[in-house]
Symmetry: C2
Subunit: 349 residues, 2 copies
């Protein structure tokens, strides 16, 4: 009955069609597309006209078999962290008027799932990868990076096989501690991601942050009052951490959360316990995402310049993809403290 049972059978315009229409060879068309050497202006024009007329679009899968696919893959664990959105915007901006398309793999927090996603990207012959704080074993990232140009964002471990973009998280932690101490706080807690040095990453961002926090506390002679609580960087994770810290015996007067999302969870926990912010507790986030500046929240936070990190990552990646650089490099961003209304002088006991 249905003549067109499968929707797939509408034919695509191929390079052969363009070639025939322009009266040239497919090789010539290919050259024009890649603006390779050895094409006369006349041929350029004819071929371009034919492409336009037929609405030709190159078949990316076929390209993938030989050359580039003009696809950049970005791996992130979840889409809810607004910091990643900033990074993503930076990447997109840098690539917006290039031929590259950005595709995102949101792999979840599991290392296996992330590995699977990275492999999926490599198998799809993506030209380059941006991995945002990957949870996969380091060895796996290194072996993938040996094959596909890769930029790792977040992890402080450097390598000669992939490029890196990192934030000076230790400095960031220092800024926060200085600010809080200046306000008069002594009992300061850090809520950071579990941060097992798993998969043989030596310095994931949460470890760098924790180290910086402890050093700064030490610098102020408060090493023995520093506390670190581990929890996932999510709303629920922050909530649980908040409940644990704020209902415990030695209640801190200020908390630094390693991510704004987690800070909001702590905010919620404080409310649950009838504690006001910043009246009873000072709260600081990390990443300075859009939520931090939101009206009812007004969270003091550390700005990591996610947008700029994205720009840098994309630029570095394309250099590698196009073979303009063959040595690994790293870019380090300097964090900045943005003081809002969630921090204040501690209430007297």
């Amino acid at each position: 009955m249905a003549a067109d049972s499968s929707p797939r059978d509408t034919k695509r315009v191929t390079i052969t069609d363009v070639a025939r229409h322009a009266g040239v060879s497919t090789a010539a068309v290919s050259k024009v597309m890649r603006n390779a050497y050895g094409v006369s202006p006349g041929m350029q024009e004819r071929v371009r006209a034919a492409m336009a007329e037929l609405e030709y679009r190159p078949h990316a899968a076929a390209r993938g078999m030989r050359g580039r696919t003009y696809t950049i893959g970005v791996l992130l664990d979840n889409v809810r962290n607004a910091f990643f959105a900033d990074v993503l915007d930076g990447i997109r901006e840098e690539l917006s008027d290039s031929e590259y398309t950005v595709l995102i793999g949101a792999a979840g927090f599991g290392a296996d799932e992330q590995s699977r996603t990275i492999r999926a990207m490599v198998d799809r012959q993506m030209d380059g990868l941006v991995l945002i704080a990957p949870g996969t074993p380091r060895s796996e990232v290194l072996s993938m990076a040996a094959t596909t140009p890769t930029v790792v964002i977040g992890h402080h471990d450097s390598s000669d096989v992939h490029d890196s973009v990192i934030d000076a998280d230790d400095v960031g932690a220092g800024l926060v501690v200085d600010h809080l101490v200046e306000l008069g706080h002594r009992d300061i807690a850090l809520v950071s991601a579990p941060g097992s040095r798993s998969g043989r990453w030596q310095r994931p961002p949460e470890i760098a942050l924790a180290d910086g926090f402890l050093q700064a506390m030490d610098r102020h002679g408060l090493a023995d009052r520093a506390r670190v609580h581990h929890s996932a960087y999510s709303d629920d994770g922050g909530h649980a951490a908040g409940l644990a810290l704020l209902s415990g015996a030695q209640r801190p007067t200020a908390i630094l959360a390693g991510a704004d999302v987690a800070a909001l969870g702590i905010y919620r926990a404080a409310a649950d316990l009838g504690l006001s912010i910043p009246g009873d507790i000072s709260l600081v986030g990390y990443n300075n995402t859009a939520i931090a500046s939101l009206a009812p929240v007004q969270l003091t936070s550390v700005d990591q310049a996610g947008h700029t990190m994205g720009l840098a990552a994309a630029r570095m990646l394309i250099e590698r993809v196009e073979g303009r650089r063959d040595r690994a490099m790293r870019t380090t961003m300097t964090p900045r403290l943005v003081v809002r209304r969630s921090t204040a002088t501690p209430s007297l006991p």
Copy 2:
């Protein structure tokens, strides 16, 4: 000097390697992979063993030239809308133990950019597409859907070429109006997206919402007191709308915002004008995103079950991709009102 100048030259394991290693033909290996008909158990085993031993991973680009790529593309305008994250989670969950990989294209709000991203996905031979409230012209979506199985989320326009998943936005608006009227409100305003019926979509979600709102007001005999204000679904958009509505002459006592993000902007505007919520103004959001339940906010909102929408969309899409269904269908979700602390009896004048 550097012997391995290009990182690309490490050879991949191909189907041919597997075939040779197992002492069979490539065709046989291919059959085993796709568990096609006509393979003896013995062959199965030998081939699988060889694949495992060589750590074979199929080359997706090559697959794309003939059969499936086992890739599902999801288009969304921006990654910051938490509702999309819910949908995405649903899609991922449904596909988590299938062979399909989900790749996301975050295209921004521009129609052109979205079109480009959709085309990029089709060109990469993705097996199926999920488009979340696309801003591209309807005709373009239809022509792409003729070629690649597609599920459109959000737009109420139905079509016999793509499947749809929608929320009964009119019902949702009704729930809100009923709730507010019951509390004693009469002057209720809706803030919804510009909702030009652009690109020939007849019923994008914002239009459905506005229609439902007006009908519900009419049902309560309040048609002449209903007001609709248009603004972008963003924090700033909501802020502007809030200022306009709340500082104007006929101030409404309650506002329904078409998205939680916009509701937060209105929250901010109210604060700027010294109005308290819910003391002076009742405020309702839409989508019931995580921010709505946030401690300092406690926004009454309409839950759209994004997660379930994602599940449904993925399931429908795979049915189509695998050819188990050849007729378009649509799934409609029922919204649910979640009452929190941003709505109350109106203050007496």
